[in-house]
């Protein structure tokens, strides 16, 4: 009897310790974010008395205050323009080149793939300094377009590699049929390949959109004009002006977190597969 329960215990170990540790790790990950949410509903005086607990007398004034003092009506527009500009550009740039390599029998594809691997792994520090002074000569610093151009360049190598491997996995029969019917390469791309490749494009769009929304180094280097800053670098300036007012900075943080977390929760499988594939190839 004893040996029987012993064997059973070994075969089907209790999951309680597993769940306990997993729960502690989840508290560690989410706890700070929960505290930000709670603090955004507290007055500054209440945070002083009660920095971590539930808001005892919730106030919502922090949200309109942070919105106007943090210049969010401008910076959220800037971040949206940067993100959408990046996503559209990266999808076009990576889409056309991935198609050329996967389908149009481009000579030298292997060499280009190797170059893209290297380009996606090149440290920012290798090209940052001359790039900045090139951009100021071309009057591209302090412009959203100048920053979008940089994002196109740094996100498209990995996006091309991802899309190419996606396209290689698609059947060619439909394209060949369209070509026999006399379709041009552009028509084949737009009418046949594009409708089939939207899952790959969506992954690329999510990964590069997330990277553009959160990007910090180039944003802080290339944009000093407060009216052109994205939410990230603008938040940094806001936070150093109001470092003692946690209610206000917490509400501002919520504005930055919310769009990303909602999108992430809606599309988490695609996000995770795209980001881990990107990590594994990068």
């Amino acid at each position: 009897m004893n040996t029987l329960t012993g064997r059973r215990a070994r075969r089907e170990p209790s999951k309680v310790p597993y769940y306990t540790i997993l729960l502690i790790l989840a508290l560690y990950s989410l706890g700070p974010l929960v505290v930000v949410m709670l603090n955004s509903l507290k007055s500054n005086a209440e945070i002083g008395r009660n920095p971590l607990g539930l808001p005892l007398s919730p106030v919502f004034q922090n949200f309109p205050d942070a919105w106007s003092q943090g210049n969010f009506s401008t910076t959220l527009v800037n971040s949206t323009i940067l993100t959408f500009g990046t996503v559209v550009g990266v999808c076009v740039i990576a889409g056309t080149s991935a198609y050329a390599m996967a389908r149009l029998d481009l000579p030298g594809t292997d060499a280009i793939l190797l170059y893209l691997f290297v380009a996606s792994a090149v440290p920012v520090q290798l090209f940052l300094v001359p790039l900045f002074f090139l951009w100021s000569t071309l009057h591209l610093t302090n412009t959203r377009f100048g920053l979008i151009l940089i994002y196109w360049a740094i996100f498209s190598p990995l996006a091309t590699l991802l899309l190419r491997s996606y396209l290689v996995g698609l059947p060619r029969d439909f394209e060949d049929a369209a070509r026999i019917d006399g379709a041009s390469e552009l028509q084949v791309l737009l009418r046949v390949v594009l409708p089939l490749s939207w899952p790959g494009l969506l992954t690329v769009a999510l990964v590069s959109g997330l990277a553009a929304w959160n990007e910090f180094l180039f944003a802080i280097t290339f944009i000093q004009d407060t009216n052109l800053k994205p939410v990230t670098t603008s938040f940094l300036a806001f936070q150093s002006n109001f470092s003692q007012d946690w209610g206000l900075t917490s509400a501002a943080a919520i504005y930055i977190i919310l769009p990303i977390v909602v999108l992430f929760l809606l599309l988490q499988r695609r996000f995770i597969s795209g980001l881990t594939a990107g990590g594994l190839k990068g």
């Binding site: 440290p123 910090f216 943080a253 992430f264 988490q268 881990t276 990068g282």
Partner: protein
């Protein structure tokens, strides 16, 4: 264009002959490559090559660059701030090679053993990774505040040892504290990389190990670890490279301070270029840093070629 006697197998006269069709495809292919290659040359390749040139010059960023040969590199080798920053990168690398990888392995292993709520935990661990670094930094600056943070909250319930500790303001604690914040945001990503690898390990191997009487720990060491070796090696490489090039969290939280106590090469180089306007010197620093990370990648490539199965 449509008529070619050589193309006798072609059907309708409207179709282009095979040769022209092939040429047209080739032309289209290169046309499709132009945006990618042009933007890449403009932003990455051109400036990277320029870095090599400027690293041999005295250049403020504006105006002409004066060629000074190896002067910048001589200065770099003798620059105490640079070596201190490099040492901080080494400490950072060691922290990131141990803490997040151990936590990532633990989290992934436990997740692979459960079915219920697995999605919940995966999302929970991953969320900090998708939140902007400025926000993550700000919330930890609040939580670790000496007067109103976790320390004082613990003190009020009778655990006083963290009370009044200035994590980001003390020279001794600044670097590990910034690393702690970055690790918090980063480890969930490692969990998912390891979890993907774990799920591809053959279940029969675990079955066989259990038949042989292996406990949980023995199963982990003898089945799990060998099964995920390629991912493990990749994570190690990614960790080393990211640690060498780290910028965001250090710049945001401490700007390298106090008194250079958390300065890393990434932030030092940025200051040289954009605050002290020593662009030529910063170029030499950037090239040095890129050289080190390039050598590390090559070592991994070499080991892989030697049949290390990574």
């Amino acid at each position: 264009m449509a008529q070619s006697t050589a193309d006798s197998t072609a059907g309708p006269a409207k179709r282009a002959p095979a040769g022209a069709l092939k040429r047209r495809r080739l032309l289209t292919a290169w046309l499709f490559m132009i945006p990618l290659l042009a933007i890449n040359v403009l932003v990455i390749l051109g400036p990277s090559v320029a870095t090599i040139y400027y690293s041999f010059t005295d250049w403020s960023g504006i105006g002409p660059a004066e060629f000074v040969g190896l002067e910048n590199y001589r200065e770099l080798l003798a620059d105490g701030d640079f070596w201190i920053a490099m040492w901080h990168n080494v400490i950072w690398t060691l922290l990131f090679l141990t803490v997040p990888i151990a936590m990532g392995l633990l989290g992934a292993f436990l997740l692979s053993q459960i079915q219920r709520f697995q999605i919940f935990f995966r999302i929970a661990y991953f969320i900090p990774y998708v939140v902007a670094s400025v926000v993550n930094a700000a919330l930890w600056q609040n939580l670790l505040d000496p007067d109103r943070g976790i320390g004082s909250a613990l003190a009020s319930i009778g655990i006083p040892f963290l009370d009044g500790v200035s994590f980001f303001g003390s020279e001794r604690l600044a670097l590990p504290s910034v690393a702690f914040v970055n690790i918090w945001a980063w480890w969930g990503f490692i969990v998912l990389l390891f979890l993907t690898a774990l799920q591809s390990v053959d279940h029969e191997l675990y079955e066989a190990a259990r038949m042989d009487g292996a406990g949980r720990w023995q199963q982990f060491v003898n089945v799990t670890l060998p099964g995920i070796r390629p991912t493990f090696v990749f994570v190690v490489l990614l960790t080393i490279i990211n640690s060498l090039l780290v910028f965001d969290y250090v710049y945001i939280i401490t700007r390298g301070g106090p008194a250079g106590a958390s300065e890393v090469v990434g932030t030092l180089m940025w200051k040289q270029a954009f605050e002290r306007f020593e662009a030529g010197y910063a170029a030499a620093m950037g090239l040095g840093l890129s050289f080190v990370s390039g050598v590390i990648v090559l070592i991994f490539v070499f080991l892989r070629r030697r049949g290390w199965e990574v």
